[in-house]
């Protein structure tokens, strides 16, 4: 941190200097940015010591040589501010020292740039910084770091910006607004680029080794690019000016992302390897000169050729995994009323998308509509029909329909003639006015099967979820009607508000082809709901939008927000050319149809270049891992940073989305949720997440930055250093409790109870623990099938409970005086009662069981669900419930593992299914037990872990001390022998790991003795339920607290999920054991009912998604 701070000051100084220089304030160009970047970067490097100087000089040399190598012709031909010349300077910058910066600038493009341009650039860089001042100090630190990092990156990428911007800027020179926006963008970018820090560090370390090599490579790539560029220039100078992302050479680990634009051409963008999706997206939008970008997104194709949306908040690399860095810019949210878009340019891109949709057949239309829309396209691009100019075949380059007939073309021409006088913008408007009426406009279709196995399509659109069978709409669920969407494995569920005559909500399930498809659909639903239905992404409870425990949410602006924001757009309509290439619609497989211009040539060239870039990238990737770790070891300081970075990677995704929950009886719950949500948000905010640009910020009401960042770190440290867990947690949870208290205000006793630590599960555990631990195996083995069945059920009910809950409870108690029962008094007593209750239940067998737990098969399950599940159970528990049948597989798997449990016959089928699923997932995700010694731990793990948690395929209910281990068949690497005292305090597990395994997934469940094994699943009355998610750098904790009253007995169940992420330096097992131990010590009267551990180990970097 020290380093950074120092950096900041330095940078600021520099900036000030530059600022003082007379520069036309309105004109802020990328060139300036470059300069500023250089300045900022340099200071950092200076820290590295004298040796670096040499490097620098080396770099310079290389750079220079690169510059020299550039075809002189090009430079000559180019107008001074032309992008290309910029590239060399960009290259140079990273290596250039402060003093040298000016010189460097002089060498490259800057030579050709008017001085004022340069200055402006630095200025623009300065401004974002100033804006920072408003932000939280914590953030700022990170920001600075990021910034320097980003700058470093930018320098490399700089060529791109430099190329584009001058042209753009000139266009908009007089307007402040535009410039402002740009600045804001920058700041956003930097905020999001945290990972880059590592890179820099890494980079510096590696520099000696690769710099020169890289430079060479880059130089070569550059040249090729230039050639391409020139080609492009010649062919379509304008286009080039608008969008010619050049990718300059890399000093950092950068990657060239090929982005297929809506015009049908592919452009390379260079981003850091660890950059988040937002970075790339912003670049693309900038390139497109697009301000209303919230309607758009980037897609990539996963290995199974499925189209996925690039999550702006996540690292690109994680998302695309092994797929090529190839993306497509697309409309993500089709505005129901395009006329409400502010800018014509936005409408234009929407038109391009729709033309593509139509030509590809994604958006079906009738013949007449094809003709009409086609005619508007012609009008927009060609202007009025001109019999002289427009011969019969003038439209043959356009594709108006999937199958284009002569008849259609004639009709198009006929209609084109009638549009005389329409401006391009008007024609686009007409196009959209007609297109928006199409029934499939903006409908995102997903293949699925209904509950009877019939093939259907689920369509997500602005208004809700549509169900199609063949081409017929057979059902529709408007967003207001949907209470909740969730997915579990390959199943997708929606909970539907009861109709007027119905009493209960109904849960409707669909079967998706696979888990990923289900998740994809779920995400699309979450995003569409948020975007179109909500006023703002994060919602106060009043709005009845609850995201429970799910870290995934739509992080962008909603339509309402973006509309509002658009009203502030104050720039003259940007000029953009409706390029002829637009006419070419690509076939779905991406094969470009060549149009008037020789795009194909350009494309191929670009492809070549990209290929090279990729290769270089790979090299980088290979090098990436080690330096990073080394770095961590090197400086303890940096450790925290790197951890933080990892924290970003943490992504817990619970599949449930609580939509608008109107249930009156749940008002209290909602209140809780409100506070929880807020809490969650604060947590999330403390982690570096993509933040709305300043532009957005003006409009979108975001919470003031919280100081909770420290909390995360605290937790992290706890886990890492195994310091006194409780104290830290207490501290952190104090905040939680406070917040909860705030949110709840004066709470009813029940509510406070829900907060109280005593959970029935915990209590159960206690009971069990009281007695000597039964030999789990004996019990299990001797147990009849019935018990197994119960176990299966149980699995569903209890997800994961770890000690942390208990800890948490303490904290709360201490901190929440609001509770009706004072913590001290209330808890113990409550526990006692509950214990009793539990015992009673035990005797009764199943009295207290959760509604969910009872049902073995889905048939039973559903009705219960309807009654109870909705409110009671939060995401995961619910998921589990839904999964009933499937969960039961777990027992099945045990036999295989060597644990002898005769699986209940019914379960088997399911188990098989599950196994298969496991296989499917196994490739990517591995569940592993925390008890195991972890061998390979990577940052990505966290994510994976969480994912698994959702999937929770192998949660099994076992007697105390029995650990079930389910491994995906694919990767069998470990044999786990179980015998341990409960709670992972000591787990004797022999582990054999084969390092070569791609990924591993393991799940181990520790169960306390079986009180609930024999529960009858009579549903109780849900008194309250809440979910709290807390994230820290390497841990994420999700807590579900459910309070229900059944037959006079109150049950509180706390389920806690802790995700520990970290590299090898973190002993997860120990961390967990420690946590449990601490908790036990703190609350000797409590016990842990179950601990389920999912461990994922990845050898390769993969994101889930």
């Amino acid at each position: 941190m020290t380093t950074e701070t120092g950096l900041e000051t330095e940078v600021k100084k520099e900036l000030k200097q530059t600022e003082e220089e007379p520069a036309a304030p309105e004109q802020k160009t990328q060139v300036q940015d470059e300069a500023a970047q250089q300045q900022q970067v340099d200071p950092k490097q200076e820290h590295k010591g004298a040796e670096k100087t040499e490097e620098r000089s080396n770099n310079k040399e290389t750079l220079q040589s690169a510059t020299a190598e550039q075809p002189s012709g090009e430079q000559n031909t180019d107008t001074p501010p032309s992008p290309k010349p910029a590239i060399p300077s960009a290259q140079t910058s990273p290596g250039v020292s402060k003093k040298g910066k000016e010189q460097a600038a002089g060498k490259g493009i800057s030579r050709f740039l008017p001085p004022w341009l340069k200055k402006q650039k630095s200025q623009s860089q300065v401004e974002p910084k100033e804006s920072l001042g408003r932000e939280d100090p914590v953030k700022e630190e990170g920001y600075v770091q990021e910034k320097s990092e980003e700058e470093g990156r930018k320098i490399e990428v700089g060529g791109e910006d430099g190329v584009d911007k001058p042209a753009e800027d000139r266009r908009s020179l007089p307007q402040d607004s535009k410039a402002d926006e740009k600045e804001e963008k920058h700041s956003i970018n930097s905020a999001k680029t945290e990972p880059a820090k590592e890179e820099t560090r890494k980079d510096t370390l590696e520099k000696d080794a690769d710099l020169e090599e890289e430079e060479d490579k880059n130089g070569a790539g550059e040249e090729i690019q230039k050639m391409i560029k020139e080609e492009a220039k010649v062919q379509k100078p304008e286009l080039k000016a608008e969008k010619s992302p050049e990718k300059p050479p890399k000093k950092m680990k950068t990657v060239v992302c090929k982005v297929m634009m809506l015009e049908g051409t592919e452009f390379p963008f260079e981003v850091e390897k660890r950059a988040k999706g937002q970075v790339l997206f912003n670049k693309v939008c900038e390139n497109l000169n697009l301000l209303e970008k919230d309607y758009f997104g980037l897609t990539y194709r996963s290995n199974n050729d499925q189209k996925n949306w690039l999550d702006p908040a996540k690292e690109i690399k994680r998302q695309i995994r092994s797929s090529p860095w190839q993306f497509a810019f697309s409309v993500k949210f089709y505005p129901p009323d395009p006329s409400q878009l502010t800018e014509d340019i936005t409408r234009y891109y929407l038109c391009l998308q729709l033309r593509q949709d139509i030509a590809s057949g994604c958006l079906p239309c009738s013949f007449v509509t094809h003709a009409l829309l086609g005619s508007y396209s012609l009008q927009a691009e060609l202007g009025d029909y001109d019999p002289e100019e427009h011969r019969v075949d003038y439209i043959s380059n356009f594709q108006f329909a999937p199958t284009q007939t002569k008849e259609l073309e004639e009709k198009v021409i006929e209609l084109h003639k009638t549009h005389r006088g329409l401006t391009p913008a008007q024609a686009d408007n007409q196009f959209l006015e007609n297109a928006k009426k199409l029934s499939m406009y903006g409908v995102d279709l997903h293949h699925a099967k209904d509950s009877e196995g019939v093939d259907i399509m689920l369509g997500v659109c602005a208004s809700g979820l549509l169900v199609y069978k063949d081409k017929l709409r057979i059902n529709r669920f408007a967003w207001p009607k949907i209470l909740k969407v969730s997915y579990k494995r390959s199943n997708f569920y929606i909970k539907v508000r009861p109709g007027e005559t119905e009493q209960f909500e109904s849960m409707i399930g669909f079967k998706l082809p696979n888990h990923r498809a289900a998740k994809r659909l779920w995400k699309v639903c979450v995003e569409h709901h948020t975007f179109f239905r909500l006023a703002s992404p994060e919602q106060p409870p009043k709005a009845k939008f609850l995201t429970l425990g799910s870290k995934f949410r739509y992080s962008g602006r909603t339509q309402a927000q973006t509309r509002q924001a658009s009203t502030l757009i104050d720039r003259p309509a940007p000029y953009f050319k409706r390029t002829s290439s637009n006419r070419v619609s690509r076939s779905l497989d991406g094969a470009p149809v060549v149009s008037v211009t020789n795009h194909s040539l350009v494309d191929s060239l670009a492809a070549e270049i990209n290929g090279k870039g990729d290769a270089a990238d790979k090299d980088n990737a290979e090098e990436a891992g080690t330096p990073f770790r080394t770095q961590m070891e090197l400086s303890p300081e940096s450790k925290s940073k790197s951890l933080r970075i990892k924290g970003e990677n943490i992504y817990v995704r619970h599949s449930n989305l609580m939509l608008e929950d109107l249930d009156k009886t749940q008002e209290e719950v909602l209140k809780h949720h409100a506070s929880i949500c807020e809490l969650k948000r604060s947590f999330m905010e403390s982690t570096p997440e993509p933040r709305p640009s300043q532009w957005e910020k003006r409009l979108a009401t975001t919470l003031p930055p919280m100081t909770l960042g420290s909390l995360e770190e605290e937790i992290t440290t706890i886990l890492l250093s195994k310091e006194s867990f409780s104290s830290y947690l207490t501290g952190s949870f104090t905040i939680t409790a406070k917040r909860a208290a705030e949110g709840a205000g004066a709470k009813t006793p029940t509510e406070s109870l829900s907060l109280s630590p005593s959970t029935w599960s915990t209590e159960k555990t206690q009971t069990r623990t009281d007695g000597p631990q039964p030999d789990a195996r004996n019990i299990t083995e001797t147990s009849d099938e019935k018990q197994k069945a119960e176990m299966g059920e149980e699995v569903e009910v209890v997800i994961e409970e770890t000690v942390i809950e208990e800890i948490r409870r303490t904290a709360k108690l201490k901190n929440s005086p609001d509770m009706t029962k004072s913590p001290a008094a209330a808890i113990p007593s409550g526990e006692g009662e509950e214990e009793k209750a539990l015992k009673e239940q035990a005797s009764k067998a199943n009295t207290s069981s959760d509604s969910h737990s009872e049902s073995e098969d889905e048939a039973d399950y559903h009705p219960q669900l309807v009654k109870v599940a909705v409110d009671q159970i939060r995401e995961e528990s619910e998921e589990n419930d839904e999964e009933l049948g499937k969960e039961s597989q777990v027992p099945m798997e045990h036999p295989a593992e060597g644990i002898l449990l005769p699986p209940p016959p019914e379960v088997q089928g399911v188990a098989d299914e599950e196994k298969q699923e496991c296989k499917a997932h196994g490739e990517d995700e591995a569940l592993s037990s925390p008890a195991e010694k972890k061998t390979e731990q990577e940052a990505e793990k966290t994510e994976e872990l969480k994912v698994n948690g959702e999937v929770s395929r192998s949660v099994s209910e076992v007697n105390t001390q029995v650990i079930y281990c389910s491994e995906p068949p694919v990767v069998k690497t470990e044999i786990v022998t179980i015998s341990d005292t409960f709670a992972g305090q000591k787990t004797d597990i022999s582990t054999t790991e084969v390092p070569i395994v791609h990924t591993e997934t393991k799940t181990i469940t520790y169960e306390a003795s079986q009180l609930d094994g024999s529960e009858d699943g009579e549903p109780g009355i849900l008194m309250s339920a809440q979910t709290i998610t807390a994230e820290s750098l390497c841990t994420t904790t999700t807590t579900h607290i459910t309070k229900s009253v059944k037959g006079g007995l109150s049950e509180t169940r706390i389920e806690k999920r802790i995700v520990i992420t970290g590299d090898a330096d973190i002993d997860h097992d120990q961390a967990l054991a420690q946590a449990i131990k601490e908790a036990k010590e703190q609350h000797p009267d409590m016990s842990v009912t179950r601990v389920v551990v999912h461990k994922e180990t990845e050898l390769t970097e993969e994101g889930e998604d």
Binding site: P364, C365, S366, F367, V368, T369, L372, L415, T418, K437, L438, S439, M440, C461, S463, K469, D470, K471, L472, R473, I474, N475, R476, A478, K481, G499
Partner: protein, 283 residues
């Protein structure tokens, strides 16, 4: 909604067909009642006269075919939307041949003709409700899923939603459009149920006009230049209560039309004509 449906109900042509002399005895029906052929024909003449003279439509009159007792109900033989005509495959085998003459006439008008080649598909035009923004297809004894699919395939611009029709012959036996965005719906429970389904399935909001008598909820809406909204509805003599409801449509030109005889063989006002807007061809 009204804006979006500006062109809704605009028709220039109507296709009708005479009443076969075999109708009284052989026409399919759900109840048994004696039909007065001459009176039926008289009423039909009036019906056609309204379209032709009062509303100024170009009326194509096909001659009756006595081998096709139900041929007067031309609506079932084709679904016309814009410049496309889907020639149906009526659910009642005895009516399949009715489409032939209708097809020919529509073809002569210059419409794009789409045929149903699938032998498993059945579709009666009476089960097709076009609201101006979308189609609802009643899955009835006469219309099946496959038929609806083909309709959806034919009119790709529009959403096609299916609704179950159990207690009535056709979807339009108890509902119809009475204006842009205005659905006339019978007050019976099944009718109301269907309306609910339609409302749920639709992205659009519709107003409803609840008609006391289900059969009276079948009316014919047209938007005629210089006349504005026009609704042909059942007479007060036939359905006094329902007529009163129609009379509340202040902005509509109301034309009571009696079809007492054909109603005995499940005829309704919409059944006896296919309305076409030839101006829609150029959009």
């Amino acid at each position: 909604m009204a804006e979006l449906m500006a062109g809704f109900g605009v028709f220039t042509h109507a296709l009708v067909r005479g009443i076969a002399s075999s109708l009284p005895k052989e026409a399919l029906r759900m109840s048994s009642a004696d039909v007065d052929l001459s009176r039926a024909r008289h009423e039909h003449d009036i019906y056609v006269g309204v379209l032709k003279h009062k509303l100024g439509l170009q009326v194509i009159e096909l001659p009756a075919d006595d081998t096709l007792p139900d041929c007067v109900f031309v609506e079932d033989a084709a679904v016309v939307c814009g410049d496309t005509a889907l020639i149906t495959r009526p659910g009642a085998p005895s009516r399949r041949d009715e489409t032939e003459a209708v097809r020919k006439a529509l073809k002569n008008l210059g419409l794009n003709i789409v045929d149903i080649a699938d032998d498993t598909a059945t579709l009666d035009g009476g089960d097709v409700l076009f609201t101006g923004r979308e189609f609802f297809v009643g899955l009835s004894k006469r219309t099946n899923q496959r038929g609806a699919e083909i309709l959806a395939d034919t009119f790709k611009d529009y959403a096609v939603s299916t609704v179950p029709v159990c207690d009535n012959l056709h979807l339009k036996s108890f509902c119809s459009m009475a204006g842009p965005g205005l659905i006339a719906i019978g007050s019976s429970e099944p009718a109301q149920k269907v309306l609910k389904i339609m409302q749920q399935m639709s992205d659009h909001r519709y107003d409803k006009l609840t008609i006391p008598d289900d059969t009276a909820a079948n009316c014919v809406y047209l938007n005629i230049p210089n006349k504005g909204h026009v609704v042909l509805h059942r007479t007060p003599e036939e359905f006094p209560e329902s007529a009163k409801v129609f009379e509340k449509l202040k902005e509509h030109m109301l034309i009571p039309v009696a079809i007492t005889e054909t109603a005995k063989v499940d005829g309704a006002l919409t059944c006896m004509s296919i309305l076409i807007n030839m101006k829609s061809n150029t959009q």
